[in-house]
């Protein structure tokens, strides 16, 4: 069916409004998707079959996360609530109510905590609310957060996205003014703050070991930071606002998705092609390819934990699931090939022929 270079993307059309977040579970067999249409969908990643929907939100669902063993799902919605779902049957286990839209939610790496990022709106301060999760009886949760990290400023610097670090040690937030901040997840103390971008931060996704992360921004760039040192590691330059970026496992790549906002698209000549998913080399920072297909900006990206497929969700309401062809997995820079060859030879036979350069 697919040759070395070509693949057949699978178009997932379960949503009717722009996608807001997509996420694979730990084994990568399921994809969870949320959109502005109130539905939370779950799909089999191998064939694109929709397994079910989690129904109950009454507004845009902004964010979704799934537990390590895929027993439960958590969502954050513009309807001022966060919901804990039974992953297998779509039943609501618990609902948290907030005073403003919940923009982001994520379970800590050990699944003992979770946070909701509530929006700075309706007179509320943008806050990261960390809750302890009662795993023994999921339907009995506490409404009282164990920690609240409040935004220290007006809406122009409110947090827009957030993520856990390795070990649940820190929480990284991205802000509307383009800065990124690291907080101690137990004390709430602000540890680092960097003005990383010129415009709002649109997404933060960590590496699989959660020791470094990629942040994307409307300012058409995306940057890679180390969590411990908060040192800028790499920068990727796009030609359109970046709505989402993710680090691919297996290959040292970074995927960037985005596109011109609707109101600007026709003013740029040849608006077509701006909605592609760009593939950058993580280490060398060059763009090495792209995948076209969406009719609107890409809002969210996620890769399979084994790195062989990824899914993108677009402003056009479509999700595109890509099982990557061999050419993707085979691609290497010459220096990578050489390094690999040398390493291989050294492992196999330390006296093997070497090319010194």
């Amino acid at each position: 069916m697919s040759s070395n270079k070509s693949m057949r993307p699978i178009l997932l059309t379960g949503h009717e409004r722009p996608l807001t977040q997509v996420k694979y579970n730990r084994e990568g067999d399921l994809i969870f998707s949320v959109a502005k249409d109130q539905h939370v969908c779950v799909w089999y990643s191998s064939n694109g079959e929709r397994l079910g929907t989690y129904d109950g939100h009454k507004g845009t669902v902004w964010s979704v996360d799934v537990s390590l063993e895929t027993e439960f799902v958590v969502t954050a919605s513009a309807d001022f609530s966060g919901i804990l779902w039974n992953a297998e049957n779509g039943k609501i286990l618990y609902t948290w109510n907030f005073n403003s839209p919940a923009k982001r939610c994520e379970l800590s790496p050990d699944n003992k905590f979770l946070f909701f990022l509530t929006d700075q709106a309706m007179g509320q301060v943008g806050t990261v609310k960390i809750f302890q999760l009662n795993t023994s009886d999921l339907s009995k949760q506490s409404d009282e957060p164990v920690l609240e990290i409040l935004n220290k400023g007006d809406a122009s610097i409110k947090p827009t996205v957030a993520a856990w670090s390795y070990g649940g040690k820190y929480i990284i937030t991205g802000h509307a003014d383009g800065s990124i901040t690291k907080y101690d997840a137990t004390t709430g103390e602000e540890l680092n703050r960097v003005k990383a971008f010129k415009e709002t931060v649109t997404d933060i996704q960590t590496s699989s070991d959660k020791t470094y992360f990629v942040a994307s921004s409307k300012d058409q760039t995306s940057r890679l930071y180390d969590i411990d040192t908060f040192e800028l590691l790499k920068e990727y330059l796009s030609d359109a606002p970046v709505n989402s970026a993710c680090i691919t496992p297996v290959k040292d790549f970074v995927l960037l998705g985005g596109g011109q906002d609707a109101k600007n698209v026709t003013t740029t000549a040849g608006g077509e092609g701006r909605f592609d998913c760009k593939i950058f080399h993580k280490i060398f920072e060059d763009q090495i390819g792209r995948i076209k297909g969406h009719f609107g900006p890409i809002n969210c990206l996620s890769t399979h934990p084994d790195g062989h497929s990824f899914v993108s969700g677009g402003e056009d309401g479509f999700m595109r699931l890509h099982h990557l062809p061999k050419s993707y997995l085979d691609f290497q820079y010459e220096v990578e090939k050489t390094a690999e060859a040398l390493q291989h030879q050294n492992n196999e036979n330390p006296d093997a022929l070497k090319v010194d350069a």
């Binding site: 040759s3 057949r8 539905h39 397994l51 895929t70 779509g90 995948i291």
Partner: protein, 262 residues
């Protein structure tokens, strides 16, 4: 938020048809536009195959989960055509010179399509017109004579490779269109009229829901057609009365009720 501007102003594509061949395969007929804006009819014969995979036991367990939510009543095996579609192959070339490589590939593809000739609708061979197909009468075993194709599948689904406004898609029951008030269709607009100008113009008659000037997808040039949704039907009527047949930038504009789409 408006997201219609990148919508192609072209005509609607026919809804895809799904025919169950009752032999473990199904035939899906869908339509799309190619690079030359030609309408392409894609006939796919799809087989559901059972494969054995070695997976994590957790995954194996989850594969046995029963469907829930909107999928609860779906008893079909495998992905539903309404939510899942395998698309035409996409070439992925990774290279530091990917831009140049992509261009090369495109030119090559163009060359190939330029050479490709019309294919017979019956046997799929080139070299003769469909009407003169030697298999025309003997057809019906593995082909699909036109007469046997159901006029429309009983479950029209609104997806395709082509963008379909989300409100018109199958299963779009949860969300209503932007407004109940019928849209106004402006035609014969001067190409200098952009969304902003038109917004100013119609706001004199009352608050508007949406103003969109259709633009050429490639050049960004306004196409002289615009759709306007006013908040109330009364305002909309006022706009039609006030602007239909009036001159704007040396052009006599015409305003009428937009015909609802099928």
């Amino acid at each position: 938020m408006s997201f219609t501007n990148w919508v192609d102003a072209g005509t609607e594509l026919p809804a895809p048809q799904v025919i169950d061949n009752n032999d473990g395969t199904k035939t899906v007929i869908s339509y799309r536009y190619n690079d030359q804006k030609k309408k392409i009819k894609v006939t796919q014969k799809i087989k559901l195959i059972e494969t054995t995979e070695t997976v994590n036991p957790l995954v194996a367990k989850r594969m046995k989960w029963s469907r829930f939510g909107l999928e609860k009543d779906n008893k079909n095996i495998g992905p539903a055509t309404t939510t899942t579609k395998i698309l035409e192959p996409v070439t992925l070339i990774l290279s530091t010179t990917w831009k140049a490589d992509e261009e090369k590939e495109q030119q090559l593809a163009k060359k190939n399509t330029a050479r490709s000739v019309m294919k017979c609708r019956f046997c799929g061979n080139s070299g003769h017109y469909s009407a003169k197909c030697p298999y025309k009468d003997t057809f019906g075993v593995d082909g699909l004579p036109k007469s046997e194709v159901p006029a429309a599948s009983d479950k029209p689904s609104g997806f395709g490779a082509k963008y379909v406004p989300s409100g018109l898609r199958a299963g779009a029951n949860g969300l209503k269109p932007v407004n109940e008030v019928p849209a106004l269709r402006f035609t014969n607009l001067n190409s200098n009229v952009d969304t902003q100008t038109l917004q100013q113009l119609v706001s004199k008659f009352g608050p508007y829901e949406r103003v969109s000037v259709l633009k050429n997808r490639d050049t960004g040039e306004p196409m002289g057609v615009a759709f306007v949704n006013m908040l109330t039907k009364k305002d909309a009527e006022a706009v039609m009365e006030g602007l239909n047949g009036k001159g704007l930038f040396n052009m006599i504009i015409s305003v009428e009720w937009a015909k609802p789409k099928k």
